[in-house]
Structure formats: C-alpha cells, structure tokens
C-alpha cells in the first residue's frame, strides 16, 4: 500500500532538529563543497570561454589549404646495389586550391558549417615614406571574412568596407608605418607592387597580428601574389567550435587538400584546456567524496545515537522501509539545504570576483557567470550525494532488531 511520506519527513526533520549542531555543521560542509565546485566550474568555464574567444576571434575553426609539395624518392634499387642519395625537401610555392569555388560550395553545404570564406594570403613588404615593414597580405571578400573572424567587432577606426585599392591595417602596423585613415601605402611582392588607401584599422587581439595584418580585396591579393583567380586557403566557421577536430578529420579524407582544425593549430592551448578540465573534474570528485563522507559520518553517528528511538518506532508499527526512508530523507534534506546554500554562496563569490578582480584597464579580467543549468547540475549532484551518503547508515538503521534496539 502506498502512503504519503509524512511519517518519514516529519521524523527526519525532528531527528535533524534534535541534533541541530551536527546538522548545521554538515549543512555548512555540504554548502562549502557545493560552492567550491560551482565557483570553480564557473571560473574555469569563464576562463576557457575567454581564452577561446580571444584565440578563435582571429582565426578560422577549420582551414583548407593545398597539400604541401613533396619530393618523391626514386624507387628502391636492386638488392646489392650501392646507392648514394640526397633528397632535399622542396621549397613550397604559393599555390591556389584547384577549382576553389566548387570546393567552397561543397564546404558551405556541409552540415555544421556556419560560414565559408576564401582567402589569398602571402607575404609582402609594406612601405610608407622611409618606413618598411614585412607584412602578411590577406586577400578576402570582406563580408564573408567578417563571418569567420567577426572583423566588424575588431574595428578601431573606419568602416568595414573594402573597395578596390583599399586596405585594412592592423592598428600597430599603422603606428609603425605612421599612417592614418585615408593615407596611402605601397605593398610589394617580388616584381609586383600596388598602392593602397588605408580604409580602416583593426585590433586583432594579438600583438603580432596587429603588427603584420594587411587585409585587401581578394582580387587585389590575387594580383599581388600572382595567382590570378586563385585562393590559397578556405576558412570555415562552425556552429559548434568543439566539432572542428572531427569535421576536419572527415573533410581531410574527402578532399585532396590539407584540412587543419583550430585544435591542431593550437595544440598547446588544447592541452592546457584539457588539463584544466581534468583538474576541475578531480576537484569535483574529491569534493564529492568529502561531502558524501561528511554526510555519511554524521548519519552513522545519528543512527547509533537514535537506536532506541528506532526500536520504538519499529515497535509502534514503522516498517523497515519506513526507517530506511527516514534516514534517506535526512540525507536528501541535508544535501538539498546544503546545495541551496552552496549555490547562493557560489553566486556571491562570482559577484565578488566580477566586482573586485579587474585588469590594469579597470575592466573585469573576463566574464564569469553562474549559469542556472550549472547551478542546477551541482545542486542535483549534492542532492544525490546526500541520498547516496545516507544509504549505508539507513540500511544499518533498517536492519536493527527492534527488541534489541529498545533494550540498549
């Protein structure tokens, strides 16, 4: 027969109230554990999001390039033949992706791909009066390129516009060359050169990029780099940044080109993020174990202290299952109250971090929030931990022989 849990809940509440010092201590312990897990998760999440935004803000999720040219070694000689061989690696020419518009079209129709942008990129020399700088020329269709790296958000001067004969410069490069909006500079690549007007300045978020970036119309770059109508690279932006590795693997098998994900080009960053995730996971597990042991130890003591009451309850007609549930409810209550207090504490810690931890410019170092989904997840884990911690003491209480318990 199913009956309401009024008995279990009332007895559990009274038992907890009776040992209120122990109850408060363990609730504070659970709250501290929940707060630490929630805060560290939010902090690491914010840190990783910030790092990824900065890293991927200036690069594609996936880049497709022509395969490197390799020298093919001559066939192996007949056995017993002495051969002296010196194979030198081939110097890599600037080459276009064969039939890149068709490849770009295929890529654009690939599920998970949010944007595709062709690019003609190469090295050049930028000159303005006495100043000369080695630069990276990036020829793009600016609207498409904007969808890859959010160029519009990086503008520090001028509009996002790239007419023939115009260039967008990295802000530091503009300082180095002493140019402002509307000024002209000359780009030289071997025998070709072109004079361009500075249309806008951008801050790519990375000093080296700001010192070398020159973005020009695709046709301008094709002409400068002597690859008429070609594209040296196709950049992709994905709906899910973390799917880049898998998609790059699949595309690498399908296309006769080199396909590189952002994870491959930022292996150290990915290792660091993985290390962070592992560390966070370990901290979570350790805190979870401590919380479970804390709740369990308090409930074990409670079972020992309340042996006689348990015996009386059994004599009064409480079933073993009811006694079991009394202690499970205690674990759940401790977990739930501790979880709520812990989430509130974590929210306060997040607010304190945002308010007090700021960079040299007075702005918060990076955004850190406690998403409701994370708070709920941590709270649910604490609740489950509370119930799990109570299982062993609860079973012990339920197994008690009522006559023996009353005699104690």
């Amino acid at each position: 027969m199913r009956r309401p849990l009024g008995f279990e809940v009332l007895v559990a509440l009274r038992f907890l109230r009776e040992g209120r010092f122990q109850s408060v201590l363990i609730i504070v312990g659970v709250a501290a554990g929940v707060a630490v897990v929630a805060y560290i998760s939010a902090l690491v999440d914010g840190l990783q999001r910030n790092t990824l935004t900065k890293t991927l803000g200036a690069q594609a999720h996936i880049s497709v390039r022509p395969r490197e040219e390799r020298v093919i070694a001559p066939p192996a000689p007949a056995p017993g033949t002495l051969v002296l061989r010196d194979v030198q690696p081939r110097a890599q020419r600037l080459r276009s992706i064969d039939n890149w518009p068709a490849v770009a079209d295929v890529l654009a129709r690939t599920p998970g791909v949010a944007a595709v942008s062709p690019m003609a990129a190469g090295a050049a020399l930028a000159q303005r009066a006495e100043a000369t700088r080695s630069v990276a020329v990036t020829g793009v269709e600016v609207e498409r390129y904007d969808r890859i790296v959010q160029l519009r958000e990086k503008l520090v001067a001028g509009p996002l516009r790239l007419q023939p004969g115009e260039a967008i410069l990295g802000a530091t490069l503009a300082d180095d060359l002493g140019v402002r909006l509307g000024d002209r500079l000359t780009l030289t690549t071997g025998p070709r050169s072109s004079t361009l007007r500075v249309a806008a300045l951008v801050d790519m978020g990375v000093r080296d990029l700001n010192r070398r970036t020159v973005i020009v119309p695709l046709r301008e770059a094709q002409s400068l780099l002597d690859i008429a109508g070609g594209a040296t690279q196709i950049d992709l932006r994905l709906d899910d940044v973390w799917s880049a590795q898998a998609l790059a693997g699949r595309l690498g098998h399908q296309l006769p080109h080199d396909v590189e994900s952002w994870q491959q080009s930022n292996a150290q960053l990915v290792s660091a993020l993985n290390a962070q995730n592992v560390s966070t996971g370990l901290i979570r597990i350790v805190v979870l174990v401590v919380v479970i042991l804390g709740i369990a130890s308090v409930l074990v003591v409670s079972v020992v202290q309340k042996q006689r009451e348990i015996g009386i309850l059994r004599a009064m007609g409480a079933t073993r299952a009811q006694v079991l549930r009394v202690f499970l409810v205690q674990g759940a209550l401790v977990g739930a109250v501790g979880a709520v207090a812990g989430v509130l504490l974590a929210a306060a810690m997040v607010a304190l971090f945002t308010h007090f931890v700021r960079g040299a410019d007075g702005q918060p170092l990076f955004a850190i929030t406690l998403p409701p989904a994370l708070a709920l997840q941590v709270a649910a884990i604490a609740l489950v931990a509370g119930v799990l911690a109570a299982v062993m003491p609860a079973r012990r209480a339920a197994r008690m022989d009522p006559a023996q318990a009353i005699r104690i």
């Binding site: 009956r3 008995f7 009386i312 007609g317 073993r320 299952a321 009353i406």
Partner: protein, 238 residues
C-alpha cells in the same frame, strides 16, 4: 479463558527461544512455553529476573521471532509472515508500554501519541488527532499536549506512553514493568489507569511486573521460572 468456541486472542504452544544459535555460547531462554490469552483478560506475567519474561513479551508482541513452536493470533499462525507482515500485524494487534516510557524526545506529547497512526497512514487525519487529544484528556494530560517529554514528570510520561499504546485501539496492550520506574503514588495512579481502561474499553492487558502489589491487582497470574510456565491461574487461586 472465555469458554467459547472462538479462538483465543493469542495462543502460543511449545514456544522455544534460543540466542546465539549454532555458536558455542548458544543459550535457550524459553523451553517450550504454552500460553493462551483471551480477549478482555487482564493478566500479569511475573517471575524472577532472567526467567525470560521480557523475551516472552517480545515474542508475543512480534518484536522477536521464536526459534521453534507455534504462535497464532486470532487463530492465524504468525510464522508465515515476513517482516512487513509482522509489522502490520503488530501495529493492528498490540500496543506497547515500556518501563522507561520510551517517548521520542523531539516530539510533543500529542505527537508521540499519534505517532503510530502517522506510521500507519502517512498523515494525521482529523479523527486520529481528536482521538489523540481525547486519550491524553482521559489520562489526565489535557493541559500537557504540546509539552515535550522532558517537560513532564515520570508518571506523566508513562501516561503519555499509555495513551500512545491505545491510539490504534489495539486488542492487547503489552506492558513491560509499566510502574517499575515510578514512585509508589505514581505507580498506583498508572495501574489504576490501566485497570480503568480495561474496564471501560475492554482492552486486554498482559503486564510484566516484579511488584507483588501490582500483580495482586491483576485477574490472572502467569509465572515464568527458568523459561518455563511454573504457574498459570486466576489471581484468587494464586
């Protein structure tokens, strides 16, 4: 004995109880006890310490299982019940009064009284609450319903325990030394209360006692010596 064909309230036959079964320190404390209690009886279970009175009371109250023998309640054997079945049977048949009252300290007097109903139903209905208040009123504790056990005297606590034993209207109240921890005046009051309940409601009582004065106020005396029934008969014949 009721002298009718109806089965007795409970009947034990050849009941044995051993502790530490199969171990070197195995000890049999009940050696084939036969006992029948009829509805409406007020019986005393007496005997020296260690004679097995509490063990027999626990077996009767389904708090312990016998090692061998037969035990029937209202003509139905109890051996076949599992733990939940025994709990259900215990709840519906018996009320318990212990020597040290054994009230739950975190609950008020009224909550203690209604606790068996809460365990049975999962909630306290209006009828149960009324009965709890009426029982506390009947045992003279109308003013102490909201008090905790620690705020009551020993005699008052035992009265609360008696009210608790009666809340589910049991057929038989098992009382283990109900006056053993009380002064003489309180003991007399409590015993008088048990007798008046027996007289008014017809509830059966099996009272374990060491006190000859209390035993003398019972209708029937069952004496247990060394785990065997040494004497069983009406008080007048004792």
């Amino acid at each position: 004995m009721d002298g009718t064909n109806a089965p007795p309230l409970l009947a034990l036959a050849e009941v044995r109880k051993s502790y530490n079964l199969g171990q070197p320190n195995e000890a049999e404390v009940l050696h084939g006890v036969d006992l029948r209690i009829a509805a409406g009886e007020f019986a005393a279970l007496i005997g020296p310490s260690g004679s097995g009175k509490s063990t027999l009371l626990n077996i009767v109250g389904l708090l312990e299982r016998m090692t061998s023998g037969r035990y029937e309640i209202a003509g139905r054997p109890v051996q076949d019940h599992d733990d939940d079945g025994l709990t259900e049977l215990r709840r519906s048949t018996f009320g318990f009064v212990f020597q040290f009252h054994h009230l739950l300290p975190a609950f008020s007097a009224l909550e203690n009284v209604t606790l068996p109903a809460l365990a049975r139903d999962g909630r306290i209905g209006r009828r149960v609450a009324q009965r709890g208040r009426a029982l506390l009123d009947a045992v003279g504790l109308a003013e102490a319903m909201d008090k905790r056990p620690s705020q009551l005297s020993g005699g008052m606590q035992q009265r609360v325990a008696i009210a608790r034993a009666l809340v589910l209207e049991p057929a038989l109240v098992l009382a283990d030394e109900p006056t053993g921890n009380l002064d003489t005046a309180s003991a007399d009051d409590v015993f008088a209360l048990l007798r008046s309940i027996h007289a008014d409601a017809g509830t059966s009582f099996l009272v374990v006692t060491h006190d000859p004065r209390m035993a003398a106020r019972c209708d029937r005396i069952v004496e247990l010596v060394d785990g065997r029934i040494a004497r069983d008969g009406p008080m007048t014949a004792a």
